[in-house]
């Protein structure tokens, strides 16, 4: 599911206009915009009018100008595209519908048409559209209620209130003493410290849980199945005690599964710090599905890159991130694509190279095979988790790249050497994993760049020596790059 799915076609176009302006330095010619949007003039004119009307009240902070030729954007420093999205989303009928559903849990068609001021038929159409996007979450709106596995319903609301709605407004509106207490209880019972940002996420989860706890006929089939190997898990046991004790203070007969929902959430959404997670890994059952997959994937990465030994903290970090990816894939279905998948992928490819992306695909396939998840190209969760695998691999390769020490030893008059040294260094700046400096005789180097063949090779110790044919020539630079690559592998 994408953020755009909550908007109407014309609204998506309007947001795209903003986005294009941002990508093009704030200015784009009218014709280029027409080309990009592939629409008729009349429709672009309409869009521009509609934008003006919509941002009218915000003219101090954000404005779009059109002088007959060029469209330009002016935006305050503290305003961003994200707020433009929120502006559109806050007026979206679909967003209002989900909010209404969250608040009342059940609606009649009459109630909702009145509340949203739309006709029966357009309400049905919106519900139908929403249902087509909710499908990947395994939930749907039927008879005025959200149906599906309880974990999936809460997870969808969580993503919705985190990314679609304004989370600050949501938490301010719903946070009361009970919520703060529940968050505090998690810290106290689990003996952990929760970072401020995670505290807010946990608060959102608790608000949703509080709202849902009294719903009747909740479904837990998938959760039950997945939890079978975790019933004795030490973290789950602690959460269970906390949940039972918490609800014993109210007139609520709580489901045993309530604790299971919190367990899945706490582990998948990195609420624990790395240190606390590590403490947990020391106690968890290593043969349970998530832990054993974590280990398997770490080993696969180590073997793939032929790492002899990983730094201890890097390995812990890998387990930390992998466990979140795997817990999410193990318990949850569907996602809201917060990042533009294609754009992120393109950026990551540029930064990390193709090999890494294809290796990340292999890892994802391993995981989906082990967890028996059907690999569906449209599944946003798989896309988002693939991006996470790529990022993790990028972190690992980056941290494991040995820095090639390069010394420049030009035999010329000093006035030239200094300038040429600087220019050489500037030219090589874009190459990852190197450190270039003017040669110092008492230091050790992996590579020496010089302009004269050394008379005595021993002079540079074990360092490889490259003799520049023509300083700053592309021929030399290309050769140097391949030597660095060789040294790096």
């Amino acid at each position: 599911m994408k953020i755009e799915h909550f908007l109407e076609k014309n609204e998506i176009r309007e947001v795209t206009i903003f986005k294009q302006l941002i990508l093009n330095g704030g200015r784009l010619s009218y014709m280029d915009m027409l080309d990009y949007l592939k629409v008729a003039k009349a429709s672009l004119d309409n869009d521009l009018d509609s934008i003006s009307a919509r941002i009218g009240s915000l003219s101090e902070q954000v404005n779009i100008y059109y002088d007959g030729q060029t469209i330009s954007l002016k935006m305050d420093d503290d305003y961003s595209l994200q707020q433009i999205y929120h502006l559109y989303l806050s007026q979206s009928v679909k967003v209002k519908l989900i909010n209404f559903l969250f608040k009342y849990q059940e609606f009649s068609i009459m109630q909702l048409t009145e509340e949203l001021a739309i006709s029966d038929s357009s309400l049905f159409r919106k519900i139908k559209e929403l249902n087509s996007y909710l499908k990947e979450f395994g939930i749907k709106i039927r008879n005025g209620q959200l149906h599906g596995e309880e974990l999936q319903i809460r997870y969808f609301y969580f993503q919705f209130y985190n990314y679609i709605e304004n989370k600050e407004v949501f938490t301010d509106l719903h946070s009361d003493k009970q919520i703060t207490q529940a968050v505090q209880a998690v810290e106290n019972f689990l003996k952990v410290t929760i970072e401020p940002e995670n505290r807010q996420r946990l608060a959102i989860w608790m608000i949703i849980s509080k709202n849902r706890v009294n719903c009747k006929d909740k479904k837990y089939q998938h959760l039950h199945k997945q939890m079978q190997t975790y019933l004795e898990d030490p973290l789950y046991q602690k959460i269970r005690i906390m949940v039972l004790r918490y609800f014993s203070r109210y007139s609520i007969e709580v489901d045993e599964e309530e604790a299971m929902l919190h367990f899945a959430f706490l582990l998948a959404f990195s609420i624990l710090t790395e240190h606390e997670f590590h403490e947990y890994t020391l106690m968890r059952d290593r043969r349970a599905p998530i832990a054993s997959l974590d280990t398997y994937i770490v080993e696969t990465i180590i073997i793939h890159y032929k790492f002899r030994r990983l730094p201890y903290m890097l390995e812990r970090d890998m387990f930390y991130h992998l466990s979140h990816i795997h817990t999410k894939l193990y318990f949850f279905k569907g996602d809201i694509e917060v990042y533009e998948y294609e754009e992120m992928l393109a950026k990551e490819k540029q930064f990390t190279g193709r090999n890494l992306v294809s290796f990340a695909h292999t890892l994802l396939t391993t995981t989906t095979d082990k967890f028996m998840i059907i690999e569906d190209k449209e599944n946003s969760l798989l896309k988002m988790e693939l991006l996470k695998y790529i990022s993790l691999l990028a972190i690992v390769t980056f941290k494991m790249t040995t820095i090639v020490q390069i010394g420049i030893d030009l035999k010329m008059e000093t006035i030239y050497t200094e300038t040429l040294n600087q220019m050489l260094m500037l030219n090589m700046r874009h190459i990852n994993g190197i450190k270039v400096e003017t040669y110092q005789p008492d230091k050790e180097y992996d590579l020496i760049l010089t302009n004269e063949r050394p008379s005595q090779k021993v002079q540079y110790g074990d360092a490889k020596v490259y003799v520049l044919s023509e300083i700053l020539s592309s021929f030399d630079l290309k050769n140097i790059q391949s030597i660095i690559q060789e040294l790096n592998s």
Binding site: K177, I241, R245, R249, Y250, S251
Partner: protein
Amino acid sequence: MKVVIIGASFAGVAAALEVRNKHLDAEIILLEKKSALGYIPNGLHLYWEKRIDNLESAYFITKEELENQNIHCNLKSSVEKIDTVKKEVHYLCDEQEETITYDKLIIATGSSQLSQKISGSDGEHVLKYKGRYEAEAAIEKVESSESVTIIGGGQVGVEAADLLNKQQKQVTLIESMDYVLFKYFDKDMIQPLQKKMLADGINLRLQQTVSSIEETDNQQVRIQLKKETVKSDAVVLGVNVRPDLHFLDEHVQLHMDQTIAVDRYMRTSAEDVFAVGDCIQLNFGEESEMVYIPLVNNAVRSGIVAAANLNQPKVPFKGSLRTIGTSAFGYYIASTGMTEAESLFTNQTIKTSRQEMCLTSLPDASTVMMKWIYDADSHILLGAQMLSNANILEKINTLALAIQTKQTLEDLQQKDYFFHPSFSPMISTTNFVPWQEMRDDVNEN
């Protein structure tokens, strides 16, 4: 002024008596769905303990006594709907629809043992005994049973386990938490009693939840746990009680747990409508924290407070400390205020201290194990627990008062007391004793 009170158990009766006390000319009507009023909810335990000969004696008040006070009692009157705008109560009396208007309405409908999660828990083979007739059915069923399973290890469940065990029944007790009586006691304090339960042959199943109860062909009951089943001749439901408030209209606001939201004057969100007893949440202590504490003591006190505030908010409810006292398996146990385990729900830094104290100055004196829970900085007492072979129950009331009046441990050391070697030790047990040699146990943290 016409005051209608729905429900004639402790809360409703207390409210009625206090309305009469405060407003001599008020017309007071009590609507009670059962055919009798004033039954003591654990009358069955009194009977099993042989404290009373029959359930007829398990009443704290009668209709006649109330009517002598000019309180009208409409029995067999089951409320179907209230209209807080028109100020009407619609109820069924002998299957006849009736409507009564009110100037002030007090909702005191109490609670019952219900479980929506355990399938089959509403069946006839499941014994509940908050009401008189349910209790009579339970007596009959238990007499013909050899084995009884109790669901829920709270006060009712543990007392029932003891009483049924004394009747030579094979007792299984199922509790979802990792120890019994967890609402009132910390795990360390209740261990002696729990060990005694096991020694007495109770089949104690901790950390187990029941998913269903079914009757088998041979008149037995099959109780389904997570991975196994338990079979017995009878099953007793001792789970948390819950209110039934289906008759409310939309103007009466509810809490998350479907109890009625009231302010400290017992006023609901609807004008001239009050709620008391087991259908509301109460302030836990003086704090603004609201908790569901369905105890008779709270029912009576909240009933009195509502009656005092009918015309104007005058008397705020002082809060509940969830004070309890009971005896089972040879121990007297009592608790008031916050437990150490429960303190994890607060921001408060607490300290605890456990002491074993002599009860008299005689050589064969019994002892009491005490646990004090207090604020780490101010030393204000927040909670106390007691366990003894001797009857120390009344002492908990002293400590409840100490918490209610915000006494510090240092204040308690100065508390005045009588000394008599036959009846008291050198220092009263409820005066916090800081001396090492006076106690067996040291500070916990």
